[in-house]
């Protein structure tokens, strides 16, 4: 309708064109039709805008908004409900007034009977078939047919062959997007992974460095501590040893001093005692004492023994002689004179023998005592001096011995002779 109007006006005056021309709006008294018998077209009533409830007049702030255009307003609703109620009441009244069949007599029942030729099944249920028909809602009139304008212009046709509509660049773009996108995504992931790993490794390195440094420091301090401790131990040990040595030396000194003092007296006493016990001797003296004197004593003893023996022999001789003389005396008194010149013989003979024996003795003496005599002459002199008496005695002894010997010899001789 709007388009028709515009067409007319456009033909008349072309100063101003509207998309939708201003027009007076019809007021729509009823939204729904009350009954189907109502004629469709009614004289159009145009509303006055001044008295249109939809137009808001006055203050816009405390007003109630009206109903939505789809909704019925409550006044209309009420009126409809009243109308319905009236219709229902009318119907009920009509029902009651309608003539009905009289009631059945007692004991009988009314029954419906079919009188037609063909019996019909009368069921309680009415066979119902649902038929639906839907028209477009709120459509009062059918839509206008499609306006197909008359064909104007030239007909041109074209044939699209296979492969012509294909624009490679356009078609390939989405695929390329996906491919490149996926590749870049994958590579980004990998790069990120590697970067993450590299970061982790870098952190690890840094941490490791610090850890190593700290460890080295700890070990250095440990080592230092150990060295200090050992040094202390060593010094303590040294000190202890020094003290020990000190003590020891002082003890030693004390002991030595004491020993010295103790032994200071000891030495002279030792020496004196030694000397007293004869450990210090003159070797020559000792030699003489050991060697010479025993020999001397031996010789003296021997000589004395000789003299003793001589004496004994002489005694024996004398005895014998005396006995013999006695016997002889007893036997013969004249033999007494012959015995006296024998004694004299015996005397000078002995005298003669004496220097011989003396020489003999001297020779023997010199033999034995030569080495001694050779050494020094002084002791010889003393030796000569001292035992001179002894020698004299010895000489006498020898003399007597010799005399006895000769006497014995002679007596023996005599005895042999006898």
């Amino acid at each position: 309708m709007a388009s028709l109007l515009t067409d007319r006006t456009s033909r008349a005056v072309n100063t101003y064109t509207y998309t939708s021309r201003p027009r007076a709006l019809p007021c729509q008294r009823r939204r729904y039709r009350d009954n189907f018998l109502q004629p469709e077209e009614e004289p159009m009533r145009y509303g006055n805008i001044m008295y249109d409830r939809r137009v808001i007049r006055g203050n816009t702030y405390a007003l109630q908004t009206g109903q939505l255009p789809g909704q019925p307003d409550p006044l209309e609703l009420q009126r409809q409900q009243q109308a319905k109620r009236r219709a229902l009441a009318r119907k009920r009244a009509q029902e009651q007034l309608r003539p009905r069949t009289p009631e059945p007599v007692e004991g009988r029942k009314h029954m419906d009977v079919q009188t037609e030729l063909y019996l019909e099944e009368i069921a309680d249920r009415i066979i119902e078939v649902d038929m639906e028909c839907q028209t477009d809602a709120f459509l009062d009139r059918p839509s206008t047919p499609l306006f197909i304008p008359a064909k104007t212009g030239k007909d041109v046709d074209t044939q699209i062959l296979e492969g012509e509509l294909f624009n490679f660049d356009l078609e390939v773009k989405p695929m390329l997007d996906v491919l490149v996108g996926k590749t870049i995504e994958q590579s980004l992931l990998e790069v990120m992974e590697e970067e993450e790993l590299a970061n982790l490794q870098a952190m690890q390195y840094a941490y490791e460095e610090i850890q190593n440094i700290e460890l080295a420091e700890v070990q250095r301090l440990e080592e230092q501590e150990r060295r200090h401790r050992e040094e202390k131990e060593r010094r303590k040990h040294q000190q202890w040893e020094i003290v020990n040595k000190h003590k020891e030396t002082s003890q030693k000194i004390a002991a030595r001093a004491f020993a010295q003092r103790y032994l200071a007296d000891l030495l002279p006493s030792v020496f004196s005692s030694l000397r007293d016990s004869g450990y210090f001797y003159d070797p020559i003296e000792r030699d003489i004492e050991i060697g010479f004197l025993p020999w001397l004593m031996n010789e003296v003893e021997k000589t004395m023994e000789y003299s003793m023996v001589g004496r004994t022999v002489l005694d024996m001789l004398i005895r014998e002689v005396v006995e013999k003389r006695l016997s002889m005396y007893e036997n013969k008194e004249d033999k007494h004179q012959s015995l006296r010149p024998e004694d004299e013989h015996g005397g000078p003979g002995a005298m003669r023998d004496q220097p011989v024996s003396y020489d003999f003795q001297e020779q023997s003496l010199s033999h034995t005592q030569r080495p001694l005599l050779d050494r020094d002459d002084l002791p010889r002199m003393s030796y000569d001096g001292r035992p001179s008496q002894e020698r004299k005695y010895m000489e006498e002894g020898e003399l007597l011995g010799q005399s006895e010997e000769t006497a014995i010899r002679k007596s023996l001789g005599k005895e042999e002779l006898q």
Partner: protein
């Protein structure tokens, strides 16, 4: 032109070498079943797919949960080379993540992998050592490696292997020896490391020096380092071109000179002048280690005398130090040099 109707052919298989991954949380169980299959191709394809999936930590967790490790352990003994290589690679990728490492330790993978130490294929061995290296970074992992008695065999392998594998073994040993070095010291690791110090490749030198640093932390190690005459070589390495080598050599010296014999060996080898040169180095680690080593040497009377003229260098270091560690280290050095015993 792209046709609207759906084609009857299956879409082209862009990755024939990989098994197709099922959707959502069915992915890993299906791969697990495929791992146990009899067919070689299936196994290989499943392993390739698994390699890709294991980069995601959530999948790692799920994999360990459903027991993929058991099937992987069985696959380690497979005859086919590719299967073994890929299986070790999967384990390596799993070991990158923490929960992967935990799972590996719990399922005793170390022992299962140790059978492959003598494997013929070098890539397999390389992956194996990568796994060990990552496991050794964890203290419990290092303990696990020590407990399984692998240290002597690793030291032995250090001699026999070459190149990249040697570097990996050195890294593993460095981490393990920090925990406990007695076994390694017993298996003559110090002479081997001494040889490595003179190697041509700078990364091997650096890592060998790093391992020596770890070896010389315990007292027994220090003694052995001095006994085998490694200290002069370390002093020589201080003049090396590569920063890393210098840093690690200084670090090894720092630990080895804690003992008196070490100190005197270093002083005899004239370590003071190279160490002083290193104090001006750009790398932080080099400066730290050099300062520490000089501190050790300053405790000996000869060292103290030599260093007293260089106290100003330490003061300068202290002033311009950016971080607390460097400052502290420089302060300690100054204190040791100037302190009276």
């Amino acid at each position: 032109m792209a046709q609207a109707p759906i084609s009857t052919h299956l879409p082209p298989d862009t990755k024939p070498t990989k098994a197709s991954i099922a959707y959502g949380h069915r992915a890993l169980p299906k791969l697990n079943e495929e791992l146990r299959s009899e067919d070689l191709t299936t196994r290989q394809k499943a392993l390739m797919a698994l390699c890709d999936l294991m980069h995601d930590p959530e999948y790692v967790y799920q994999a360990i949960d459903i027991g993929c490790l058991e099937s992987l352990k069985a696959l380690l003994k497979d005859i086919n080379d590719l299967v073994r290589i890929k299986a070790t690679e999967v384990l390596y990728i799993m070991a990158i993540h923490t929960m992967g490492r935990d799972g590996l330790l719990k399922h005793d993978i170390i022992r299962a992998l140790s059978f492959l130490l003598n494997d013929a294929n070098p890539i397999c061995r390389e992956n194996l050592h990568k796994v060990y290296k990552l496991l050794a970074l964890l203290p419990s992992g290092a303990q696990g490696i020590l407990n399984s008695g692998l240290i002597p065999s690793l030291v032995w392998k250090l001699q026999k292997e070459q190149g990249a594998i040697q570097e990996l073994i050195l890294d593993t040993l460095a981490s393990c020896l920090r925990v406990d070095a007695t076994e390694a010291l017993g298996s003559r690791v110090v002479p081997f490391l001494k040889q490595q110090l003179l190697s041509g490749s700078h990364s091997i030198r650096a890592k060998a020096a790093c391992t020596l640093m770890a070896v010389s932390i315990p007292w027994q190690g220090k003694k052995q380092v001095w006994q085998y005459g490694v200290i002069p070589i370390l002093v020589q390495l201080l003049k090396d071109d590569v920063d890393e080598v210098q840093a690690n050599a200084a670090g090894a010296l720092m630990f080895a000179t804690v003992t008196t014999e070490g100190k005197y060996a270093a002083l005899e080898a004239e370590a003071i002048s190279p160490l002083l040169d290193l104090l001006c180095s750009p790398t932080n680690k080099v400066r730290l280690n050099a300062t520490k080593a000089l501190t050790m040497l300053a405790e000996a009377p000869e060292g103290r005398r030599a260093l007293q003229s260089h106290v100003h260098t330490f003061r300068a270091l202290e002033k311009e130090a950016s971080e607390a560690t460097m400052r502290r280290v420089a302060q300690i050095a100054i204190r040791v040099i100037e302190g009276k015993p």
